[in-house]
């Protein structure tokens, strides 16, 4: 079997699903089940007695295959992210933390300096640290060196649906990395997930593409199949590219034509 190894956990699914932006909890749960995702992200929010249905802890915990990966969304500094990680671990019991520090709500680009500092602290504390980063090969390597479990470069801006705009940088990160590279953010279509996996990504993280589609469970299933196909193709080894045609049929001894 071909498992994704993250820290001491092994997963047969290489699709990580986000739980934001779904129309309701029932649809989200159907999508999680259809996706086969074994790692799903959640966010910390203040308790609101008027919005008890927003509490996803119990419904997700009822899915035995699912491990929670809380994020630190809302943090704009390393200190805030570390604090959020501590609270999230207390609640989830999960060692995974998606470090997500984006100070500017307009573009939601991750702050590399604060992210690095938060990851350094959390990795020392034993978290399985999964940082959301720009597709920066140097930063990715530095994060690997301080003990991150994975790096998660963005394909394009969060929720933008602009796909793998950073493909060339992600290729470099994959070549240089000894830890799984997970494309996080920007994917719109299953074919983009396939491409990411064919490139050699360890997994992809998808949220908006599923959550805001017309039929989230079906789209979740489509992404699952696309990720599996891309992984299988990567393992099988893609043929080399050529700048000229290379015939697949014999071109000689055809109907008496002598060459």
């Amino acid at each position: 079997m071909d498992f994704l190894q993250l820290g001491s956990y092994t997963f047969s699914s290489r699709l990580i699903l986000g739980t934001g932006k779904f129309s309701n909890t029932t649809v989200m749960l159907e999508a999680v089940k259809a996706s086969g995702a074994q790692l799903v992200t959640v966010a910390l929010r203040r308790f609101n007695r008027e919005q008890l249905a927003d509490d996803l802890f119990s419904p997700l915990k009822a899915l035995p295959e699912v491990t929670l990966m809380p994020n630190t969304s809302g943090a704009s500094t390393a200190a805030e992210a570390v604090r959020a990680a501590h609270i999230a671990r207390e609640l989830s019991g999960s060692p995974f933390i998606k470090v997500e520090i984006h100070p500017n709500p307009q573009h939601l680009m991750p702050d590399p300096i604060e992210t690095y500092e938060a990851c350094r602290i959390l990795a020392k504390e034993g978290f399985f640290v999964m940082p959301y980063i720009a597709a920066d090969p140097v930063l990715a390597k530095r994060l690997e060196e301080i003990g991150c479990t994975s790096v998660m470069p963005l394909g394009s801006a969060i929720g933008s649906g602009q796909g793998l705009a950073t493909a060339e940088m992600i290729n470099i990160i994959i070549r240089e990395s000894n830890i799984p590279v997970i494309v996080d953010a920007g994917l719109r279509s299953p074919s983009e997930a396939t491409l990411a996996m064919e490139m050699g990504c360890g997994a992809v993280l998808v949220n908006s593409a599923v959550a805001v589609s017309e039929h989230p469970p079906e789209m979740a299933e489509a992404f699952a199949e696309a990720v599996a196909a891309g992984r299988k193709a990567f393992k099988a080894g893609l043929m080399p590219k050529s700048s000229s045609a290379i015939a697949t049929s014999p071109l000689t001894a055809f109907l008496g034509v002598n060459t």
């Binding site: 739980t19 934001g20 959640v42 203040r46 308790f47 802890f57 604090r83 501590h86 609640l91 929720g159």
Partner: protein, 67 residues
């Protein structure tokens, strides 16, 4: 009565209220929330003995949808 800050809003409580009393008031069984008092995480086994003081800052947090 004492006044605490609960998730950014003022909340009055009888003196001597524990964290579990606050949970009862807001209608939470406490199983799916994290509680932070003045930046200190209050674990479930400490909630019935941790008494809230006037001007305490209390955050009660849950997991919501997020990517």
């Amino acid at each position: 009565m004492i006044t605490i800050e609960l998730n950014g809003k003022q909340q009055t409580l009888p003196p001597g209220s524990a964290v579990t009393d606050l949970l009862s008031i807001i209608g939470s069984d406490g199983n799916t929330v994290a509680i932070v008092v003045n930046d200190l995480i209050i674990r479930p086994d400490k909630r019935s003995t941790h008494l809230l003081q006037d001007a305490d800052r209390v955050e009660i947090l849950v997991f919501a949808g997020g990517g």
